[in-house]
């Protein structure tokens, strides 16, 4: 063999191999976060990190493109430089937030669901990454201060155990902040009518309804997707009927963990039998939300868990295009025995946990707080929820009514898109929410009915829901690492049981495994946090 040539080919091959290695390592860049004052002006420039809601991302590139946000900055004399995570999905937002946190280069203002992150905002304060807001609110946020003074229950939700406030909140408060339940079970009402079935109230009635629909319509009636797996911490189906929370809940002042309770086994028995019988979608664990959307809108499914705004708002028009008689209706949250009142209603607290924090490196905390507080003022609240008077709404008898720019958009935008293009009403953002937006947003009669039906027992939820407690840094670390393992184990095991690859009898194995993974300690931590919360 010609040795010179073969060596040449090996070198050539090695160069290629490196090239492949290189091409495998993509680079990622982070927007650099800095704060400062624009040259030659008094307007402070503040970087503002927030996930862009899906409604908004379909019509604007940045919150800065929204006229209401421009007007808000003009009136409060600040200049927000918005930074948005690339994707709007919750797990991607969390991932980008964690990466940003690890880089330790933080924007001046950050908005997120703080109760969703390990240790919450309190941990970030203890780590020294964000500011405490009490004194700033006292001195520069008269509007929020008024609310805190007026509603002790809201003050309790906002405060950490030691009385600190870290988050400038998104709130549902007062006369126009009563709607707190926006999602629930929905069913094809036209099929119920056709088959002569009443709306199901109990789990047994649900079974009858689903079975009849399966037989008469030849479809698999109940669908779901992998973001709301049956029996997991994101479960939004029949778990509540069994008197169980998705995860931790309160039973007469005692913290309990839903999947450890004996009734959870009853739930599993039922779901397993439904799965086996073909009453629930056999692919629910692999369905993404798009697949689920297409099942519902093409009439291949009859019942599901959905949102009044986004689900009903898109499914009903889609269904009616093919079949004008198609109707969806909200069903009251199920119970086990006839006459019982639903307890586990997915209601929200006044403070949803969403809000803004100020990073410790913010150089203009005073101006920032003033600007944020403006949204709680009467004019600010109108601006946030209804936009600019004369353009997006007019006042009739003192009530704001959206103009045709929103309700019959000339560019053929849907109502939710038109809203998202001009102001911030149909998703969570700092400041007060306003029910009068919902009344006009829900244009379909089924939606107006749904918001009332779901609200009927919403107050019951506050008896069993875990309030927004806060954990110490050490507790949060320990709790996080325990629950991470447990929730992974649980979602896997429960899914197997429901799909029938594990017998229901393994429930006891699962509970034993929870105990081995120190669920006892996790409950203890939550109980201590609840006790501290109650004595705030």
């Amino acid at each position: 063999m010609n040795s010179k040539q073969s060596r040449g080919s090996i070198v050539w091959a090695a160069v290629l191999a490196f090239g492949i290695l290189l091409s495998a390592c993509g680079g990622a860049s982070q927007p650099s976060a800095s704060s400062g004052v624009k040259e030659g002006s008094e307007t402070p420039v503040l970087t503002f990190w927030a996930a862009l809601n899906g409604n908004a991302s379909s019509v604007v590139k940045s919150l800065d493109d929204i006229p209401m946000v421009k007007e808000w900055q003009r009136r409060t004399n600040v200049d927000f430089q918005f930074i948005h995570p690339v994707s709007t999905s919750n797990s991607d937002v969390m991932q980008q937030f964690n990466v940003m946190l690890a880089s330790n280069e933080l924007p001046d203002v950050m908005q997120l669901q703080w109760t969703g992150i390990q240790g919450g905002a309190a941990k970030m304060y203890n780590d020294g990454t964000i500011m405490k807001l009490n004194d700033l609110i006292e001195a520069h946020a008269p509007n929020l201060k008024k609310i805190i003074d007026e509603y002790p229950s809201i003050a309790k939700q906002l405060m950490a155990d030691n009385g600190d406030i870290y988050v400038f909140p998104d709130l549902k408060v007062g006369e126009y902040g009563k709607y707190k339940t926006f999602a629930g079970l929905m069913i094809r009402q036209d099929w119920l009518d056709e088959l002569g079935l009443p709306q199901p109230e109990t789990v047994d009635e649900w079974e009858t309804v689903l079975r009849t629909i399966k037989e008469k319509k030849g479809i698999i009636p109940f669908t779901a997707n992998k973001n709301r797996l049956f029996g997991t911490k994101d479960s939004s189906d029949f778990l509540g009927a069994y008197g169980l929370g998705q995860s931790f809940y309160v039973d007469n002042g005692k913290v309990k963990y839903g999947p450890m309770e004996p009734r959870f086994k009853d739930y599993l028995v039922r779901m397993q039998s439904w799965y086996k019988e073909g009453l629930i979608d056999p692919d629910y664990a692999t369905n993404d939300s798009k697949l689920m959307d297409s099942r519902v809108s093409s009439g291949q499914a009859a019942a599901f868990f959905g949102y009044i705004g986004s689900s009903m708002g898109t499914y009903v028009p889609a269904l009616q295009q093919a079949d004008p008689a198609a109707r969806l209706a909200a069903v009251q949250f199920p119970v086990l025995n006839k006459g019982e009142k639903p307890l586990f209603v997915p209601a929200q607290w006044e403070f949803t946990g969403i809000g803004a924090v100020l990073s410790a490196t913010n150089k203009h905390p005073e101006e920032t707080i003033k600007a944020l507080d403006y949204l709680f003022s009467p004019e600010g609240s109108m601006l946030k929820n209804f936009g600019i008077e004369g353009e997006t709404y007019t006042l009739e008898n003192g009530q704001p009514i959206y103009t045709d720019l929103i309700l019959n958009n000339p560019d053929n935008l849907s109502v939710s898109q038109a809203m998202a293009k001009y102001f911030i009403a149909n998703y969570s953002f700092i400041g007060p929410a306003d029910d009068r937006y919902n009344d006009q947003y829900y244009t379909i009669p089924e939606q107006k009915e749904a918001i009332k039906r779901y609200a009927e027992y919403a107050d019951n939820a506050y008896r069993v829901m875990m309030p927004p407690v806060s954990l110490t840094t050490e507790e949060a670390d320990e709790f996080g690492s325990i629950m991470n393992d447990i929730e992974t184990y649980r979602s896997e095991f429960v899914t197997k049981i429901i799909m029938g690859s594990e017998p229901v009898a393994s429930f006891d194995t699962m509970v034993a495994q929870f105990e081995k993974m120190k669920i006892g300690r996790a409950i203890e931590i939550q109980q201590a946090a609840l006790d501290r919360y109650n004595s705030r």
């Binding site: 969390m94 692999t286 690492s481 799909m499």
Partner: protein, 300 residues
């Protein structure tokens, strides 16, 4: 001294290698400093310098974890299947391509086989998901032959098969480039001599083509074995679901879930990553030593 003289003599070559050296220093060696947090209770605000030391706590927590054996087993199995089924394919493909005499046909086949490599992984996984779904192409085939439709990705028994087959499809063409380059380096005179001696096509492949490829094959095999503990998390997390964790959850997806997606256990996940790197290092040295003893082909 000798190095300096050598640099002075071959300025251009050293200049060309500079970007690669810088790349490795900046992106591979400097970040190693961050591995320190595996031995700390890392707090972002305190930084690497200020966080408290935790010793081997996080390593012990990983070895004690109920998931330790499972993620280890899944990682090794997926790597092994990838190696056993995936490694020979580009070699065969390159040899087959090399035998094709029609230039146009050859380059069309080559280009088509590279394509999947350049498609974004998210799109690839989207394709895989829709192919394997209940109404997908594969199920239609199964139903046509009398089988029953099922969500293929929902069954833990199928996960590794789907992963490995799609991996082969993705990388077959691209990986064959190296072998094609090596093949083009074989002196045609050898083939001519063989023909004169009466060797047929297969005889030529067996006695000339394959032996010429052995050095490249060995080097790539050693590199592959050095990466046994590494299965990228992106494709896994795009394809798995809680029902298939049992066969699908690998070290990197476990680290992703714990460190980025659900929790922010930076120190713990760094410890896991470090463990993975150490095992890879041992495997690489082992494979290299083995190969050096057995033949003379080696990385260093």
């Amino acid at each position: 001294m000798r190095l300096l003289r050598d640099i002075a003599k071959h300025k251009a070559i050293y200049f060309m290698i500079l970007p690669m050296v810088l790349y490795y220093i900046i992106f591979k060696y400097v970040p190693m400093y961050g591995s320190i947090i595996a031995f700390q209770d890392f707090r972002v605000a305190k930084g690497i310098g200020g966080s408290d030391w935790a010793g081997l706590k996080h390593f012990i927590a990983f070895f004690d974890s109920v998931y330790f054996f499972r993620v280890l087993k899944n990682t090794l199995l997926i790597s092994l299947y990838n190696l056993v089924f995936g490694f020979p394919v580009p070699i065969l493909f390159a040899i087959l391509l090399n035998e094709i005499r029609n230039r146009l046909f050859k380059s069309v086949v080559q280009t088509v086989s590279y394509l999947p490599h350049f498609i974004s992984l998210v799109v690839i996984c989207g394709l895989i998901i829709s192919f394997t779904s209940r109404d997908g192409v594969i199920n239609s085939l199964i139903a046509f032959f009398g089988g029953e439709r099922s969500a293929l990705l929902g069954d833990p028994a199928n996960f590794r098969t789907i992963y490995v087959i799609s991996q082969i499809w993705q990388e077959m063409g691209w990986s064959s480039i190296i072998y094609l380059a090596a093949l083009s380096g074989i002196n045609p005179e050898i083939y001519e001599a063989a023909k004169v001696d009466g060797a047929g096509r297969f005889r030529q492949i067996w006695s000339i083509t394959l032996p010429s490829l052995v050095p490249v094959i060995t080097i790539l095999l050693i590199l592959r074995i050095g990466g046994m503990m590494e299965v990228g998390f992106e494709k896994i997390i795009l394809l798995y679901n809680p029902n298939t964790y049992e066969t699908a959850d690998v070290i990197s997806s476990f680290v992703y879930r714990k460190g980025l997606a659900e929790g922010a256990e930076y120190s713990f996940t760094t410890a896991v990553g470090l463990f993975q790197a150490v095992i890879n290092f041992i495997l690489l040295i082992g494979a290299n030593t083995f190969s050096r003893r057995l033949s003379d082909n080696r990385l260093w």
